[in-house]
Amino acid sequence: MERLDPRARSDMYGRRINRAPSPLRARSVPYLTIMLGSLLPVLLIADLMPLSPSFGFLMLLAWRMVRPGLLPLWAGAPLGAFDDLFSGQPFGSAILLWSLAMIAIEVIETRFPWRGFWQDWFTGGVIAIVYWLAALLVSGASVTPEMLAVALPQALLSVLLYPIMTRMVAGLDRFRLVRARKLD
């Protein structure tokens, strides 16, 4: 059988016989990638204006949209606390806003159970823009018109990045569920 078709006994997650996904990997990958998303923008030197959207939040949004039910409803709080340590926002802002975003998505999902790509993008985009504005308002700085103007690309970028982030999360999800453990 294998000689005729080498992929006969495997699917996109690898060989099927005698293999199982690693539970550690299956549980940790979403959290680790969201935390990595919070960490990466710290390494940029943004001296004049905010340079990148909050990748941590975009990752959370993408995981929540692509894999509903994987992250528990309260997952926004611990992940937000981690983001707050590095983002420069006052501590607590991401705990509040990420939790609210998770609740909002849950409510929207119960209200509109049948969803498609475009509707998901719309939901994700609206939530990303509301998050961007709310994060500016609670940042502790007095919001000037100039500040809003230079932060505008951030909002645009976070909306445009949504499809790319969801593709990336889909790839990560495949990596998450690869049958890496050998059963004896």
Partner: protein
């Protein structure tokens, strides 16, 4: 795509309860976040230890980033220099001629300066930096403009100390970890710095606008004496910065002052020096005097508030 059916509770009491608990937990977490947010807006230093620890962990990675950043800057500059080497050569030769003349003039001025200072009895005490560090990161996603440097409490860095590059002022230390510190950049919209014009004693405040430019507000209103291209330097009022460090160049004139560009852009800086607070004794006294005042909580993140506290001092001096 509909959400997975297992998530609908149906008639199962267990599923209903777990759904309800999820909502309850999430709402409680949101409320907790709100409480923490209010607390940290009122008392920005409350979470300093945790954040310091966190930035300590990230600082080594940031150091690698800083090395590659400065390296790539060098490569780009090298390529650009190679491309227009010929025309640059002639230009540079002419500039060197002029610079030699200016240097001679500067030597003369320096000598005169020394003579006059000797007459006045001032001692020339050069400030030694407490630590020299790399800029390892910044708050790139936030509306606040803060940066992280790779020196902290173990190097003697304390909150309030000025951070300078070889070109001019970068900002002021806000919080310290063990081996890293958080710096409030001049461009942050909560940053205020007392400055004066380099050529004379026109006193003003340089406030960050949040978009990379500084707003220069004159203390004495009347005819605006500023001109485009004027250099603003620290005035030393408030006691945090030593006087005479370059801050900004005026780019545009407004009725009450001007809009200025930074002299020292943190993004183009590799190393920064953390200097001791210029008038440490005076600053401490000021802090002691202000501590009992309840007005502290009104202005959240201007924690040590060096410039606005002694604001009346320069204006009365001018009158």
């Amino acid at each position: 795509m509909a959400p997975t059916s297992s998530r609908r509770s149906g008639f199962s009491k267990k599923a209903q309860y777990s759904l309800f608990t999820g909502y309850l937990l999430a709402a409680t977490c949101a409320l907790l976040g709100l409480a923490l947010l209010v607390l940290s807006l009122r008392q920005p230093s409350a979470f300093e230890p945790v954040r310091g620890l966190a930035t300590d962990v990230v600082a080594p990675a940031g150091k690698i980033g800083a090395v590659t950043r400065s390296g790539s800057q060098g490569i780009l500059a090298g390529i650009a220099g190679y491309l227009n080497a010929g025309s640059q050569n002639a230009e540079l030769r002419r500039e060197v001629e002029i610079a030699r003349i200016r240097l001679a003039e500067a030597e003369a001025v320096k000598a005169e300066n020394r003579r006059l200072k000797g007459l006045l009895g001032l001692s020339e005490a050069a400030t030694k930096p407490i630590a020299v560090a790399r800029l390892v990161g910044s708050s790139a996603t936030s509306g606040r403009r803060q940066a992280y440097i790779s020196a902290g409490a173990s190097d003697g860095v304390k909150p309030g100390m000025p951070v300078l590059s070889e070109r001019g002022v970068i900002g002021r230390v806000l919080e310290t970890g063990r081996s890293s510190a958080r710096v409030l950049l001049l461009t942050d919209s909560e940053s205020v710095l007392p400055v004066r014009r380099a050529s004379d004693n026109v006193i003003a405040f340089a406030e960050g606008r949040g978009d990379g430019l500084l707003r220069i507000r004159l203390v004495n209103l009347g005819v605006n004496p500023l001109k485009v291209g004027d250099t603003m330097v620290t005035s030393g009022a408030g006691g945090y910065y030593r006087p005479g460090v370059a801050v900004a160049l005026i780019a545009k004139i407004t009725p009450d002052g001007g809009i200025a560009r930074l002299v020292a852009e943190p993004g183009a800086t590799n190393y920064v020096a953390v200097e001791p607070i210029a008038q440490a004794a005076a600053v401490e006294e000021l802090d002691e005097a202000e501590r009992p005042a309840p007005a502290r909580s009104a202005s959240p993140s201007r924690k040590p508030e060096p410039p606005s506290a002694p604001a009346p001092a320069p204006s009365t001096a001018e009158d």
